[in-house]
C-alpha cells in the first residue's frame, strides 16, 4: 500500500474572473521512506497539491478526489483529527522562510510552540527539545539564537529554524515547498545537504516541490513533472531527467541545461482558460490533430499521445 496516494485530485477556486482550475486531475504515489519531487514552472499548481495534502487551502476552494495517507483519506477527515496529523505525522516547510515566522515572537518561542502542541511537555523540557532541534539543523549558538527575533536571522539560518520546527515530532512525511529558492547559492547547497542528511537519519518520506531541477535530482529518487495543473510525466528521477519523453519535460531539461536549446514558444496558459485536449498542445513542437481534441491518459508514466499504445506513433 503506498504511503501517500493522491488520486484524481481536482482543486478549483471560484474567482470573479472565472473558475481557476489549479489542480486538474493529479495522480501521485509515494512509498514509505521514498522521496518524490514535484517539478514545474511557477504557477503550475505544485504548491496547491501540497496545501491540499495538508488541508490548508482556503475555504472557498473546491476539492475533489482522494488523498490517502497510511490508508486514511485525508480529505474526509474532521478538522480536529487533521490538526493532530499536521505537525506530527505530516509537516510542511514553506518558501520565503523569513515570512513564515511571526515577527513579534522569538524564534525559540515558536519552535517550542511546535514542540508543545502535540505533546505534554513542561516548559523546561520543551525548551531543551527546541535547543536540541536547533543544534540538529546546524544553528550555531542555539541558546543565544533561541531568544532572538526572526529578523535577526539570516536567510539560511531562518530556513534551518523552519526545518527544526517541522521536525519537532519527527514526522513520517515532510513536504518541502521550494526550500532553496530564496537563498544564496552557497547556502542552498548547505540546506540540500541538511535535508538529505536528516532524511536519511530520521527515515522521513519526502515530498519536494521545486522548479530547480538540480535540487530535485540531488534529493529525490522519484520525479513528477507538472504543467498547467496536471502531471505530464513521472517516474524515477534519473530516467525522467536523462531520457525525458514528454515534449514539455524535454524542453524543461533543455532550458535547464542552459545551452539555449530549450526555448518554448508561447506562454503558460491562464488557469481560467485551459486549452482543450492536451494542455500543452498549443506550444508543443510535435502536436498532432488528436492532441487538440482529446486529453491523453497517463500510460507508463507519461501523458502524451505520442506514447499511447493505441494511437499515433512517435
Amino acid at each position: 500500500m503506498p504511503f501517500l496516494e493522491i488520486r484524481d485530485l481536482h482543486v478549483t477556486f471560484p474567482t470573479p474572473a472565472g473558475h481557476v482550475r489549479a489542480s486538474d486531475g493529479v495522480d501521485l504515489e509515494i512509498s514509505e521512506g521514498d522521496s518524490l519531487c514535484l517539478v514545474g514552472e511557477s504557477g503550475c499548481g505544485k504548491t496547491i497539491v501540497a496545501l491540499a495534502v495538508m488541508r490548508l487551502l482556503p475555504h472557498s476552494a473546491i476539492i475533489t478526489g482522494r488523498i490517502r495517507f497510511k490508508g486514511e483519506d485525508l480529505l474526509g477527515l474532521g478538522e480536529s483529527r487533521m490538526r493532530r496529523i499536521r505537525g506530527r505525522e505530516i509537516a510542511m516547510i514553506f518558501e520565503q522562510p523569513a515570512t513564515c515566522f511571526n515577527p513579534v515572537l522569538t524564534v525559540g518561542d515558536q519552535i517550542v510552540e511546535a514542540v508543545r502542541v502535540h505533546g505534554e511537555r513542561s516548559r523546561k523540557a520543551a525548551r531543551e527539545r527546541a535547543l536540541e532541534l536547533m543544534s540538529m539543523v546546524g544553528i550555531a549558538d542555539p541558546i543565544k539564537r533561541y531568544g532572538q527575533y526572526p529578523h535577526e536571522f539570516s536567510g539560511g539560518m531562518i530556513q534551518r529554524a523552519m526545518i527544526a520546527m517541522a521536525l519537532a515530532f519527527e514526522p513520517a512525511l515532510l513536504i518541502a515547498d521550494e526550500p532553496t529558492t530564496s537563498l544564496d547559492v552557497t547556502v542552498q547547497a548547505q540546506i540540500i545537504e541538511l535535508l538529505a542528511d536528516l532524511k536519511a537519519r530520521l527515515r522521513t518520506t519526502l515530498l519536494l516541490i521545486t522548479h530547480d531541477l538540480a535540487v530535485a535530482s540531488t534529493l529525490c529518487a522519484q520525479a513528477a513533472v507538472m504543467y498547467a495543473g496536471g502531471i505530464v510525466e513521472k517516474g524515477a528521477t534519473r530516467r525522467v531527467f536523462k531520457s525525458p519523453r514528454h515534449p514539455y519535460t524535454q524542453a524543461l531539461l533543455a532550458a535547464a541545461s542552459g545551452d539555449g536549446s530549450g526555448v518554448i514558444r508561447g506562454s503558460v496558459p491562464e488557469l481560467t482558460r485551459l486549452p482543450e485536449g492536451c494542455r500543452f498542445h498549443p506550444r508543443c513542437p510535435r502536436a498532432q490533430d488528436i492532441c487538440r481534441e482529446a486529453m491523453p491518459a497517463i500510460e507508463d508514466g507519461v501523458r502524451c499521445h505520442l506514447y499511447q499504445h493505441s494511437g499515433v506513433t512517435a
Binding site: 482556503p58 472557498s60 488557469l271
Partner: protein
C-alpha cells in the same frame, strides 16, 4: 482631461455593483435636488414667525411641526440642506485648492521650502482640528464666513500631503529621467502624470471628509459659532430645540436625523469609491 473621463467609465461600472455606494449616491442625489430646489419645495418661508402656532407637533399642516417661534420645521430643514451642502462643498474646494498649492510648492521646490512647509503642516496637525477651528472662529467672531475660513484653514493639510507625496514619487520615477534625457517637455509629462495620480485619492478623501465637514459645520453652529440665527441650519436648529426637549422632541430629532442621513450617504459613497479605486485594500484570493 480625456484620460480622466476615460478612466471614469470602468470606475462607475464597478461602483454600481456596490449596493451601499449606490444607495449613498441615490440619497445624495435627493439631497442635492432638495438643496437646489429648496425655494420651490419648502411649503413656507423658513424665517417666517408665527407665534400662535409655536411648538406644535407634526401635523398635516406642519409635517415636521413648528419651533419655538412658530417657524415651520420642514421648511427649515429643507433650507438647511442647502446651507450644509453648499458650505461643505465650498470648504472642501478651498481645502483642496490650498492643499494643492502648498503641496505642489513643497514638492516641486523641495529642500528648504519643503521642510518649512512640512513643519507648518506638522504644527497644524498638532492641534486637534475642531479645537483650532473653534479657536479661530472664536477669535474672528462667530459668523458663517468665519466658519468657512476656520474649517478650510484646518482641513487643507491632508490634501497637501497627498499632492506632495505624489510629486515626490513621480520625481523619483525613471521615465521622467529618460524623458528629460530625450529633451521632452518634462514639466508637462510630469504634471500630467502627477495630476492623474492625485485625482483618485483626492476624490476619495474629499468624499469621505465631507461627512466630517458637515458634522463640524453642524457642531460649530450648535455651539453658536457658525450659522447665526435666524438662519436655518441643522446644527442651529438642534441648539434651538434643546431647551424644548421634553415638550417638543421633534425639534431635536429631525435636524439630527438629517445630519446623520447625509453623513451616512457620503460615507457609503466614499467607502465604495475607496474600494473601487484602491483595489489593493480589497481582499485577494489565495492561490
Amino acid at each position: 482631461m480625456r484620460e480622466v473621463g476615460e478612466a471614469m467609465g470602468p470606475i462607475v461600472q464597478a461602483l454600481k455593483k456596490n449596493r451601499l455606494a449606490v444607495i449613498g449616491a441615490g440619497i445624495l442625489s435627493v439631497l442635492v435636488f432638495i438643496a437646489v430646489f429648496a425655494p420651490y419645495l419648502a411649503p413656507r418661508d423658513p424665517v417666517e414667525l408665527n407665534l400662535a402656532e409655536r411648538l406644535s407637533s407634526p401635523s398635516w399642516d406642519h409635517l415636521m411641526g413648528t419651533d419655538a417661534v412658530g417657524r415651520d420645521t420642514l421648511s427649515r430643514i429643507i433650507y438647511g440642506t442647502r446651507v450644509s451642502l453648499m458650505i461643505a462643498v465650498v470648504v472642501t474646494m478651498i481645502e483642496v485648492l490650498l492643499g494643492m498649492i502648498v503641496g505642489m510648492t513643497a514638492g516641486y521646490l523641495g529642500k528648504a521650502v519643503d521642510e518649512i512647509l512640512m513643519r507648518i503642516v506638522d504644527v497644524l496637525l498638532a492641534f486637534p482640528g475642531i479645537i483650532l477651528a473653534l479657536a479661530l472662529v472664536g477669535m474672528l467672531g462667530p459668523s458663517l464666513t468665519n466658519l468657512v475660513i476656520a474649517l478650510a484653514a484646518v482641513g487643507w493639510v491632508r490634501y497637501a500631503r497627498i499632492v506632495r507625496g505624489s510629486i515626490l514619487s513621480v520625481k523619483e520615477e525613471r521615465f521622467v529621467e529618460s524623458a528629460r534625457a530625450i529633451g521632452c517637455g518634462n514639466l508637462r509629462i510630469a504634471t500630467r502624470h502627477i495630476l492623474l495620480n492625485i485625482v483618485t485619492p483626492i476624490i476619495v478623501l474629499a468624499t469621505l471628509s465631507m461627512g466630517t465637514t458637515i458634522i463640524s459645520i453642524a457642531a460649530l453652529s450648535f455651539l453658536g459659532l457658525g450659522a447665526q440665527p435666524p438662519m436655518a441650519e441643522w446644527g442651529n436648529m438642534l441648539n434651538e430645540g434643546k431647551p424644548f426637549m421634553e415638550k417638543a422632541p421633534h425639534l431635536m430629532i429631525f435636524p439630527g436625523l438629517m445630519i446623520m442621513i447625509t453623513v451616512l450617504a457620503f460615507n457609503f459613497l466614499g467607502d465604495g469609491l475607496r474600494d473601487v479605486m484602491d483595489p489593493r485594500l480589497k481582499e485577494k484570493v489565495e492561490v
